[in-house]
């Protein structure tokens, strides 16, 4: 494959960013919007070309049937040492091709959708510039040829996420949310960075291909090296995973994601649902062969994922803000993917079930991107219509917004895992992998799946069924065409995506294989999902006192769930009370008063001394000669004493 197309995939969004953002050309909203869409559309076409060529052109398949990892181009960017070189390149392999499709699709749809959603907003052009910047960074991230390139784009997506969350910069909450998102992920990135440093010290390379193809050999020098009881490799992998946890909002670094919903809704759909937040999953998938070497690392991935999935599902059941519900559902779903990666190995350096978990994780990433973007965009349409994020301001909307309602319903069904919608297939694979790893994990994840179905339909019913509030004289209506097209398109994809033979495209060793549905697991998961949906229907279809009763029955649980288990408060406490008031302030005081005080006191002492000895110069000539003769005698006397 020539380097032109891949290069353009990266170059066009960057160019659009520069054109729309920095070039400072004041253009009309319409022009800016369409330029953005045009740019993204071109990128979309190019990305599809590249990805489909990769999947279907025999030149990328080895004789064994294995798909080849190709580096299209790789340009040295910064050479630290002979071996440790940051290159900017383009790595084409099954997962990066997959991500190219996902990112460009969602990004393009969001560009299109925003034409309607953001119409008339102040800073329209800036918005498109940031979207382009984000697309550029995200594309750069997924095609990274080395871990440091990934880190570079990792930071860039963080920054563009910061800019987009804080898009409404006059709002305090948006500013705070963007700051929080950046700092929390920054903290996680610190772990990532140190992980990279450790790993690269031993492997003497940043290159993914070197790291993953001959992991055993490249990392041979870590053998036997331990640090505080755990092997160095585990430390490195866990630290790298920390970075992933931050970006993918795993517990306990998840707190930024719900707040990030302060950004415009299409942004949430793009960044905080479909693409950026799965970067963590992508990272682990990218490093998967290395993770295979270390059982404890995969174990941690699985456990963190499982805990987060459950936690987020619980919280999602009690939230009022529809975007928050979706945010927690995103956390929960990403945790599914993490679990899936974590359970892909059997702990002996081998994978079980042909690396089913790996494939399932990627599959779920794909389907989730589609249906979650759909849900967010649907939510955006709702918010656009009623000008509020609270479900209390909604209700009975199915009458006014039929298209939105149906597409939203498809999204809900997909995420709940009801066949034949896409979510069912991918989630089913994850559950199979979990059961294969350990039955407990399987049951646990099935429960989470049920909860997912429950809270999604709770949301659905509350929005579209429940009593309708007084909408006044401007009744809500379906969104305009640019917003409608993405909804319909994504709904269609969510209906059919499950039937893609995913195992043919993405597997851990890039060898294609066929997916089999495990009927027992499929049946049981569908059954619990339907039960959960029924429960939700019972509780929330029409106004009834049951939810209130349940809330009163378990006030503590409800409180904790509603307040997201007080994680934010804990963080507030740590950052404000401990670090800010407990470290920074005392340090600043110490600096001003002790360090600077010491320096000042040198001056003060000098001054004081000069005052103290002032009487020596008394103006009395007799005093002068007295000092004189005493001085002379002392001078001689002391010398005599020292001599003798």
């Amino acid at each position: 494959m020539g380097i032109t197309l891949p290069l353009l995939i990266l170059a066009i969004p960057l160019f659009m960013f520069l054109l729309l953002g920095i070039a400072g050309v004041k253009m009309s909203h319409k022009l800016a919007g369409w330029l953005g869409c045009l740019g993204m559309g071109t990128t979309l076409v190019l990305a599809y070309t590249v990805a489909l060529t990769y999947y279907f052109c025999p030149e990328f398949t080895a004789e064994t049937g294995e798909r080849i990892q190709t580096i299209v181009f790789n340009q040295t960017w910064l050479a630290f040492t002979q071996n440790l070189v940051i290159s900017l390149g383009f790595l084409l392999d099954p997962i990066s091709a997959l991500m190219l499709i996902v990112i460009t699709t969602i990004s393009f749809l969001v560009h299109l959708y925003s034409l309607g959603y953001m119409e008339g907003e102040k800073g329209f052009q800036r918005y498109y510039a940031f979207l382009s910047l984000f697309s550029f960074s995200m594309l750069g991230l997924v095609v990274a040829t080395n871990i440091f390139q990934m880190y570079i784009f990792w930071e860039l997506v963080g920054a563009s996420s910061y800019l987009l969350i804080g898009f409404y910069y006059t709002k305090h909450s948006a500013v705070a949310a963007s700051k929080k998102a950046f700092i929390v992920t920054r903290f996680a990135d610190l772990g990532f960075l140190i992980g990279i440093l450790v790993l690269s010290y031993y492997s003497q390379t940043f290159d993914f291909l070197k790291l993953t193809t001959d992991s055993q050999w490249v990392l041979a020098s870590t053998q036997g090296a331990t640090f505080m009881g755990a092997s160095v490799l585990t430390w490195a992998l866990v630290l790298i995973f920390t970075g992933g946890m931050g970006k993918s909002a795993m517990m306990p670094l998840h707190i930024w994601l719900p707040d990030a919903m302060e950004g415009p809704t299409p942004v949430s759909a793009l960044i905080h649902a479909a693409t950026m937040v799965v970067a963590g999953v992508f990272l682990v998938a990218r490093m998967f062969p290395v993770y295979l070497l270390e059982e404890s690392a995969t174990m941690i991935v699985a456990v963190v994922g499982a805990v987060t999935a459950f936690y987020a599902a619980m919280v999602a059941c009690t939230q009022i803000d529809i975007k928050r519900v979706l945010a927690f559902s995103t956390i929960s779903q990403i945790a599914f993917m993490m679990v899936s990666l974590g359970v892909a190995s059997n702990g002996n350096g081998d994978v079980c079930h042909h690396g089913l978990g790996y494939m399932a994780s990627m599959f779920h990433m794909f389907t989730h991107a589609m249906f979650k973007a759909l849900l967010f965009l649907g939510a955006g349409a709702l918010i656009h219509a009623v000008h509020s994020n609270d479900y209390t301001a909604m209700g009975g909307l199915s009458r006014y917004m039929p298209v939105t309602r149906w597409t939203f319903l498809i999204g809900c069904l997909a995420i709940a895992g009801i066949p034949p919608f896409s979510g069912f297939f991918s989630k089913d694979e994850i559950l199979s992998a979990a059961y294969a790893w350990s039955p407990f994990m399987g049951v646990w994840m099935t429960i989470v799946a049920a909860m997912t179905a429950f809270y999604m339909f709770r949301l659905y019913f509350l929005i579209f069924r429940w009593d309708e509030p007084d909408y006044g004289h401007h009744t809500p209506h379906d969104p305009p065409l640019p917003m409608m097209i993405p909804l319909v398109f994504l709904a269609a994809v969510s209906c059919v995506a499950g039937f893609i033979p995913f195992g043919h495209f993405v597997t851990w060793n890039r060898m294609p294989y066929d997916i089999h549905l495990d009927p027992w697991i499929a049946c049981s998961s569908v059954a619990v999902a339907i039960c959960a949906i029924c429960l939700a229907a019972y509780m929330y279809r029409t106004k009834n006192p049951l939810p209130e009763k349940m809330k009163n029955a378990m006030p503590v649980l409800w409180d904790w769930c509603h307040h997201r288990f007080y994680w934010d408060e804990l963080y507030m406490f740590i950052t404000h009370k401990i670090i800010f008031n407990g470290v920074c302030r005392p340090l600043a005081w110490f600096d001003r008063h002790i360090i600077d005080g010491t320096m000042d006191s040198f001056a003060a002492v000098t001054n004081k001394l000069s005052r103290v000895i002032a009487p020596l110069q008394s103006g009395q000539v007799q005093m002068y000669v007295f000092v004189y003769i005493i001085g002379a005698l002392l001078l001689g006397g002391i010398t005599v004493l020292c001599l003798i």
Binding site: W77, L78, H172, F182, I183, F187, L587
Partner: protein
């Protein structure tokens, strides 16, 4: 003498001084300042090109354009000049900042005297960077220090008398130690009976400083330069000094003068006394490591923009010294990159702060807010500066910090695995933490100052940047982005000539 290109780095400012003295109105003064600083930029670019050309032709000398003219023959004092990649990078940096600084002080009161002092300061700076003779180096170093006093005292604001005095005296204190260290080095610069010399290249070649003396002279010189590099606990001149200084002076001081410290530490202390550097670096590693985190923490609670930035400089310059002490090629390359990067972005910061202050007449972030709505251009620049400072890829800070961290980590791990203790490793990780703290204070300022609703309704009438302010900031931003986007060019520039130097440092051990 005048066939050597380097000498013009001093001649041009001197000519500027002469012309400025003749100037009658502000237009002429501006013209002289702009043309002169453009000339300096051109000169440094020409030097760079010639340098690269010579390197490409395979010249392997540690320094190029080396020349030496006898000055005080009995004491072997020469006016010796020569540059390697590091000096050229610094010259480039200085000329750019002088250029930007001239625009930043476009409307200063009493422009003639101001520019006279400013250019005198730059004489010192340029002279320092081209010298390879310790005496002339020290002389130029002090030439650069004193104009600060008047620049802050006369054109400054706030508690300027105190700040100016404190800054001058503390820096002089540093140079007191330095002078002693340099004379000490001189007396051991040649083996017994040999010709003593102030020339750094010859001192390195002779490598004759006895071990015992090294461990005495190294701290002297390191502390001497370290004071200017704002090393903990000798950094306290920096916040007050910067807070009181006028815009261009803050720019030049934080951007260039503080680099004199790092450069000197490397060029004199470590270059000539590698053994002591190896043995005693732990003391200074601890101090500079503390600087890095400490400065960042202090910046988190300050509410005065200049104080925040000054503490951030403490942190970033601490990183420079920290990396130098790692005695690892990568880390040292990073240190030089960090000097460049910090020089540019902190100059940008101070320029912006000066511009904002010039309009709002306050630097308290608690009394401002929503600047993005009022002066979008300046605010965007501020965000860019902030992003550079917190290490966003594509801007200079990231490149420098990553190079430092990678290099330090390599050094630390090697030490640790070789059983030399985990100090370097631990402090590397501590230093890494600064990227988070930096993000905290930068975003805090950005959030409070630029975003949010407008705090003071009177500010709504303020205007955005004028053309000269735009020019000043754009210049700096372009440079920041250039380093951030094409780091390998700078990396090679620095690295190429680094090798023999590093070899001499590490070869000793």
């Amino acid at each position: 003498m005048f066939e050597n290109i380097l000498i013009y780095f001093v001649v041009i400012p001197l000519v500027m001084l002469g012309l400025l003295a003749l100037c009658r109105d502000i237009k002429q003064i501006r013209a002289v300042a702009v043309v002169g600083s453009l000339g300096l930029i051109a000169l440094s670019v020409v030097t760079l090109v010639q340098y690269l050309g010579m390197r490409a032709a395979g010249v392997e000398d540690p320094m190029l354009f080396v020349d030496s003219w006898t000055w005080f023959a009995p004491l072997n004092i020469h006016l010796a000049v020569g540059v390697d990649g590091i000096s050229i990078a610094m010259l480039l940096l200085s000329s750019i900042i002088v250029f930007a600084g001239s625009f930043a002080s476009w409307t200063i009161k009493e422009p003639k005297a101001f520019f006279l002092w400013l250019i005198l300061l730059s004489v010192g700076v340029f002279g320092f960077f081209i010298s390879i003779d310790m005496f002339t180096m020290f002389m130029f170093y002090e030439v650069a220090l004193i104009p600060m006093y008047l620049l802050i005292g006369v054109w400054g604001s706030g508690n300027k008398n105190y700040s100016a005095m404190k800054l001058t005296l503390m820096l002089m204190g540093g140079s007191a130690f330095l002078m002693m260290g340099l004379i000490g080095i001189y007396y051991h610069s040649a083996p017994e009976g040999g010709q003593l010399t102030w020339n750094l290249l010859e001192i390195v070649k002779n490598a004759s400083i006895p071990h015992g003396w090294q461990s005495f002279l190294f701290p002297m010189t390191f502390v001497g330069f370290g004071v200017l590099g704002a090393m903990f606990p000798f950094h306290t001149w920096s916040p007050d000094g910067h807070a009181s200084a006028p815009t261009a002076v803050s720019m030049l001081h934080a951007g260039v003068l503080m680099k004199l410290g790092g450069y000197g530490c490397f060029r004199v202390a470590i270059y000539t006394m590698p053994q002591a550097a190896h043995e005693l670096s732990w003391i200074f590693l601890i101090l500079t490591g503390i600087s890095v985190v400490y400065g960042a923490f202090c910046a988190c609670v300050k509410t005065d923009l200049k104080y925040i930035n000054a503490y951030s400089s403490v942190s970033h310059c601490g990183l420079v010294l920290f990396a130098i002490l790692m005695l690892n090629e990568t880390a040292m390359t990073g240190a030089i990159m960090q000097m460049l990067s910090h020089g540019l972005m902190t100059a940008l910061f101070f320029a912006l702060i000066g511009m904002i202050y010039g309009r709002t007449h306050t630097r308290e972030i608690t009394q401002m807010g929503g600047m993005m709505q009022i002066m979008p251009y300046l605010s965007v620049c501020y965000v860019i500066a902030g992003m550079a400072s917190l290490g966003l890829p594509g801007l200079s800070g990231f490149v420098a910090e990553m190079t430092i961290f990678v290099g330090s980590f390599q050094a630390g791990m090697t030490d640790y695995l070789a059983g030399h203790g985990s100090l370097r490793l631990v402090f590397t990780i501590i230093a890494c933490c600064s990227i988070v703290i930096t993000a905290v204070y930068i975003l805090r300022v950005v959030g409070k100052l630029l975003f949010g609703p407008v705090h003071d309704e009177h500010h709504r009438t303020l205007t955005d940047a004028t053309w000269w302010e735009r020019l000043s900031t754009v210049t700096l931003i372009i440079c920041v982005a250039a380093i951030g986007c094409f780091p390998n060019f700078f990396n090679n520039l620095i690295n190429f000539t680094f090798k023999p130097a590093i070899f001499s440092v590490l070869g000793m051990n």
